[in-house]
Amino acid sequence: MLSVSNVTKRFGGLVAVSDASLKVDQGRIVALIGPNGAGKTTLFAIIGGFVTPDSGRIQFEGRDITGMPPHAICRLGLTRTFQIVQPFAGLTVRENIAIGAHLRHRGRAEALERAAIVGEQVGMGPLLDQPAQSLTVAGRKRLELARALATEAKLLLLDEVMAGLIPSEITEIVATIRKIRDSGVTILLIEHVMQAVMSLSEEAYVLNQGRMIAHGTPAQLVADPTVIEAYLGHGAAERLKQESDNA
């Protein structure tokens, strides 16, 4: 459904994404993990059309979308959320979601109705008439998800929608994401909460310093020495192994 081929992006001297490739098949939940500053958000921005890559290609449903503007990509059915939440602060939750719903529903009343349905779906029913700026972190993360979902996207890119949430909130949003997938939406998500990644996704990619260093099931990846080193530093895998041998 989505295929990213050999994408590179430089910011001045810094190579944020370097020759990275990944594939997402329809109906799956795929995770993109990696340490802070690895280039994950940049890769999402590239896929979503917010940043043009220096080289490489992005294909969505067989169509080349490299260099297309974000709104055009969104119309094709690919929407992203923002790691740093971007609510329409002065609007209510319902009005926020309705902006997303407008993509497929012209009428104002219709879009607001759709917004209420989507809001319920992600557990924001009681908050529909709250101003977005009064929401908690968890609420804002949910709002990002709801707005994107309201565009009736076929592929959702979720950027750290669980960061800053307490465990009970994570359990809730994990269930919500699974429900969304079951309704036929494919999901690519960036996540730091490994427990959530393990329970949600069948497949994960690991990005480190802009490079895609591993790909497999989450269980395979947490045992992969390259991945452990990426997170814990050089020689970490060896040390861990010795420690567990000694124990």
């Binding site: 709104h71 923002f82 329409f88 602060a89 609007l91 012209r106 565009t151």
Partner: protein, 328 residues
């Protein structure tokens, strides 16, 4: 669901009562003042579409007003074109100028004060051009010969002019209401609140902003036409000077940006204050501008959502006939 508050009923009711009273019982004393305020109110409504709803603050709306006034004046005086046809051409021209300014600014991603400066620069360029060429009357401006009659779009009777200008204000406000209740309006508000998020949700922000500016241009051009047909004179400082640009944004910001009533409320209040000050302290030119500045600072400090925002908070809310989603 938003409803209309008691304070709003009083505010809007009071304004309607004043304007309608003047319609049935014309008073020469009040007509002159009100006609002038209403013409500015039309331009304020125009500014509000892009600045209030879309959050793109223009500092050069005189460019659109002036284009409307000059095009209609030149067509009539230089080429003898029928004033009604000239008016249509002027509105088209102002729309085109607006589209050009917007396309150029937004193509290069100008926002905030950069957009404000570019619009200001366009108005200045037009002001210099208008005063430099003979065809536009040079430094003297253009005087349209007085020939009252419906065919000439000129009225001997001031109250007819008043009715016409009032009609234009109502049309402009109805356009605002239609925008507010449409997807286009929701998209403009989304852009104002967060442009990146708007893009991510499939909004063509460039197109939306340019269209809003063009609609603003059409209405601003109509304000220029109304000005010319009322005073039968235009020159570069009036048409393209910064006074008009400032008045265009004062009304909405003081009255309540991004609301249907804000521009009219704000313009009437500010002109009322200006007029009062003029009578109290005669012979102090520029006093009204000082006063505008003071009022603006007070409003920005204590009432960021303007007089309409204040009225919304007064008294119990009564359900409006149809509970429509509202701006802010």
């Amino acid at each position: 669901m938003k409803t209309t508050s008691f304070g709003e009923w009083v505010l809007y009711g009071g304004i309607c009562a004043y304007l309608l009273t003047l319609l049935v019982m014309p008073s020469q004393l009040w007509l002159g003042f009100t006609i002038n305020a209403l013409i500015v109110a039309i331009l304020s409504v125009a500014w509000n579409l892009l600045g209030g709803f879309g959050g793109q603050m223009s500092f050069g709306h005189a460019a659109l007003f002036g284009t409307g006034a000059y095009v209609t004046a030149m067509l009539q005086v230089r080429w003898g074109i029928n004033p009604w046809l000239a008016a249509v051409a002027a509105i088209v021209a102002a729309t085109a100028v607006a589209g050009f300014i917007a396309a150029l600014s937004f193509r290069y991603g100008l926002r905030g004060s950069y957009f404000a400066l570019v619009t200001l620069a366009f108005a200045e360029v037009l002001r210099i051009l208008a005063s430099s060429f003979e065809i536009s009357g040079g430094g003297q401006g253009i005087l349209v010969p007085y020939k009252a009659g419906l065919a000439n779009f000129q009225f001997a009777d001031r109250s007819t002019t008043y009715a016409l200008v009032l009609f234009l204000v109502v049309v402009a406000m109805l356009i605002t209401l239609a925008v507010q209740r449409s997807r286009f309006g929701a998209y403009l508000i989304a852009i104002r609140e967060n442009e990146e998020a708007a893009k991510a949700l499939g909004i063509d922000t460039f197109r939306t902003k340019v269209l809003a500016m063009m609609l603003s241009g059409a209405i601003g051009g109509a304000a220029g036409v109304a000005y010319l047909q009322t005073y039968l004179f235009i020159d570069a400082p009036i048409a393209f000077g910064s006074t008009m640009s400032i008045e265009a944004l004062l009304g909405p910001i003081i009255g309540g940006a991004g609301t249907v009533w804000g521009p009219l409320v704000g313009t009437l209040i500010i002109h009322g204050l200006g007029e009062t000050a003029k009578h109290l302290v005669s012979g102090a030119p520029g006093l009204n501008l000082v006063l505008y500045g003071v009022v603006l600072m007070v409003i920005l400090r204590y009432l960021p959502d303007g007089i309409v925002g204040l009225a919304r908070r007064i008294g119990p809310r009564r359900a409006a006939p149809t509970a429509m989603p509202e701006d802010r």
